[in-house]
Amino acid sequence: MEELIQNLKQQIIDALNLEEITPADIDDDAPLFGEGLGLDSIDALEIILILEKEYGIRIAKPSDAKPILKSMRTLAEYVEKNRK
């Protein structure tokens, strides 16, 4: 799980061009949206694409992603369970 979290963090940093942030700066349990990293709806779409490209997970509706994208930990848990 630790390794998956690290990989996901790096993939998100690259995809969202989070230039000044390193994986260590992202708290596993901090909210990704609004507070914390301050991501928005477009970032959510980019993360959904990461799930599809890297882990073969398809999410049909952005609203389905909401609970998954709460924090790095919820995201990693979802990927762990659903990866293909």
């Binding site: 969202l16 061009n17 989070l18 230039e19 000044e20 301050g38 991501l39 928005d40 709806s41 477009i42 779409l45 980019e46 959904i48 694409l49 599809e52 490209k53 509706k61 952005p62 609203s63």
Partner: protein, 646 residues
């Protein structure tokens, strides 16, 4: 002085022409179905115009083998209907202005070119890419209909043609034109289909605007134009109120409170000297996305509280026709006023929980409709409301627009001295910006900092917009075969991205407009900026931007554009225009279309790149000598600048 609508033209999935369109609505026939005119891997529902390209070309009597974008063909068809309906004389047409709007322009044909070009940069037939830029559709519509006066193209995403109608009405009010044909056109093509799909806001079923279970929009395509003129005996309605406001919240999402929508509606009603309760029907933007409808409903509740007028979204008939949507709905609104129509909001069953708003669900006619408000909202927070009335409304007189002198109180040219980190402090905004957006926004913000007060209008001009983003997106659609497409380049390919981002950073809700009229983009943006000042604006932020890409240079070289001494170029230039001089004033500026003013020398604008006009003006201001006015020859007009200090 009142502006009337005396001619209507409309083409959409609901039908070709006013008669067919109303028949579809009367029958409550949903037009949304699977995509037929091009191949796509996606199972999405869309509202396409029935004839294919060959049939459209035949209807327009185009010469055999001519390559005209679908966008332009739809526009030609609708504009012709409007011009015929208004029964304009040849003389009226020859001096009439055309204000047209589009977001995709010739992208459908460009994609045909690009599919070959991505494999080999020496392949791809150039005829498919010549009509790429937005101004091409405007030029073809003008030629097809014989419209010979001022022409320009507006592109502010989904509010584009509402803004085109607004500019046309303002020009008539200010005495700058007697007759204006205004509207917009957009064809459905894989670029937009994949763009909206990458945003995950397309409904696979027919859209359900304002319904609790709504889950997205259906793309449409089409065109619509209105003929506007001063007082005419035979007319549909008056154009009595208009406003553009910026939501200043997010590039694609609308604020939960509907701030931009509320401001646009409130100001449009006030502009006509009316009260919200005077509005009988609202043609809402109502795309059917969860976000738009919630935001628009919230804004409506703020304006009308519990006394909501009849309202409906007509998107289930026409699909979301993007740049054409504002004009499509303006035509429907004009018919609502003249014929007492109220249109049904199809596919509605349960209201949105928070607002409980219930739209009009049946086609009604013979209703007394004195005032209709039409909403059109676009990416970049661009919100426009137009108010159409049965009777004229007293409006503030606009005088002196023709001979106006304005003051250049600040100039900023993009260069290494601009620190994007400081000018765009929000790292989360900065990280997403492409080079072109960053260049334009940083220059605009630096120029705004020179203004004594926040601007009353932000007007931008570009030839080809954020080209690298458009290319990146188109390439990914082709190379990835429509799968796993990143949404960010699509969002930034919108021409009003720079203006919208400046509004967000500076929290500026004012008028925000973008012109995309080839080498004339800047001069028509300048004309709008000066008209804003004539209307009472004290400060306008006016800018131009364009980027150069390898692909563009390769294509232009193959076209032979650079053979005539033209060189590729790019840049961003912004001006702080003011109604009055101040301590920082660099120059006074006047339009001089007929060469009546005296000047010590004349400077010509090279066509090195689309916004070279703006750079030439900036350079001329930099080298001004007191007592020696300089004339700058633009494409269709000229301006005279001279030293002027308070």
């Amino acid at each position: 002085m009142s502006v009337v609508i005396s001619g209507l033209g409309i083409v959409s999935a609901a039908g070709i022409g006013v008669g067919a369109t109303i028949a579809t609505m009367r029958a409550k026939r949903c037009t949304v179905s699977a995509v037929r005119h091009f191949a796509t891997v996606h199972k999405v529902a869309a509202a396409e115009v029935e004839p294919d390209n060959d049939e459209l070309a035949r209807m327009l009597h185009l010469p055999e083998g001519s390559v005209v974008s679908r966008t332009a063909m739809l526009g030609m068809l609708a504009a012709r209907e409007a011009v015929d309906d208004a029964a304009l004389t040849d003389a009226e047409l020859a001096s009439a202005a055309l204000v047209s709007a589009t977001t995709v322009g010739g992208m459908d044909r460009t994609q045909t070119f690009f599919a070959d070009f991505v494999c080999n940069p020496n392949s791809g037939r150039l005829r498919y890419v010549r009509g790429h830029d937005c101004a091409d559709s405007t030029r073809r519509i003008a030629e097809h209909c014989g419209i010979g006066g001022f022409a320009t193209t507006i592109s502010t995403a989904c509010s584009s043609s509402a803004n085109a109608i607004m500019l046309g009405a303002r020009m008539i009010e200010a005495g700058l034109a007697d007759v204006v044909v205004a509207g917009g056109c957009d064809a459905l093509c894989p670029f937009t289909l994949n763009g909206f799909r990458s945003l995950m806001i397309l409904d696979e079923q027919p859209c359900r605007p304002f319904d609790r279970t709504r889950s997205g929009l259906n793309l449409g395509e089409g065109a619509a134009y209105v003929v506007m003129r001063r007082e005419a005996e035979r007319h549909y309605c008056y154009v009595s109120g208009m406003a553009n406001a910026n939501d200043a919240f997010h590039q694609t999402a609308s604020s939960a409170e509907g701030n931009g929508a509320f401001e646009a509606m409130r100001r449009a009603v006030a502009d006509a000297g009316l009260q919200p309760h005077d509005v009988d029907y609202v043609n809402v933007h109502g795309t059917g996305t969860p976000n738009n409808d919630a935001s628009e409903a919230a804004a409506m509740m703020r304006l009308w509280h519990n006394e909501m007028p009849a309202f409906s979204s007509t998107k289930a008939f026409t699909g979301h026709t993007l740049a054409a949507a504002g004009a499509v709905e303006a035509v429907l609104s004009a018919l609502s006023v003249s014929n007492g129509y109220l249109y049904p909001n199809l596919n509605f069953s349960e209201p949105i929980e928070d607002t409980q708003l219930v739209p009009q669900q049946d086609f009604a006619e013979g209703v007394r409709v004195d005032a209709v408000l039409s909403n059109s909202f676009g990416f970049g927070g661009n919100c426009t409301s137009l108010l159409f009335t049965a009777r004229p409304c007293p409006r503030a007189e606009v005088t002196g627009a023709r001979n106006l002198t304005c003051y250049v109180n600040g100039v900023e040219v993009y260069g290494e001295h601009l620190d994007a980190k400081q000018l765009i402090p929000d790292a989360n905004m900065r990280r997403r910006m492409s080079r072109c957006v960053k260049m334009g926004v940083a220059t605009g913000m630096a120029c705004m900092a020179q203004m004594p007060a926040p601007p009353d209008a932000i007007v931008t001009a570009t030839g080809l917009g954020c080209l690298a983003d458009s290319e990146k997106f188109l390439r990914s659609v082709i190379v990835n075969a429509e799968q796993m497409i990143n949404p960010t380049p699509f969002i930034q390919s919108t021409f009003n991205t720079v203006g919208g981002q400046i509004a967000i950073i500076s929290a500026n809700r004012c008028y925000n407009m973008t012109y995309v009229h080839r080498y004339e983009s800047f001069e028509t943006a300048l004309a709008d900026a000066m008209l804003k000042i004539a209307e009472g604006a004290e400060g306008v932020l006016l800018g131009a931007f364009d980027e150069m890409t390898e692909t563009q240079v390769a294509i232009m070289r193959r076209m032979g554009v650079y053979r005539s001494g033209t060189e590729p170029g790019e840049g961003a230039v912004f001006f702080a225009l003011g109604s009055r001089p101040c301590a920082a004033t660099r120059a006074s500026l006047r339009m001089d279309p007929h060469g009546e003013l005296t000047a010590a020398r004349t400077v010509a604008c090279p066509r090195t790149y689309h916004t070279a006009q703006a750079r030439t003006v900036a350079d001329a201001i930099g080298s001004l000598v007191p007592g020696e006015p300089v004339r700058i020859s633009l494409e269709k007009t000229s301006i005279v600048i001279q030293c002027a200090r308070q």
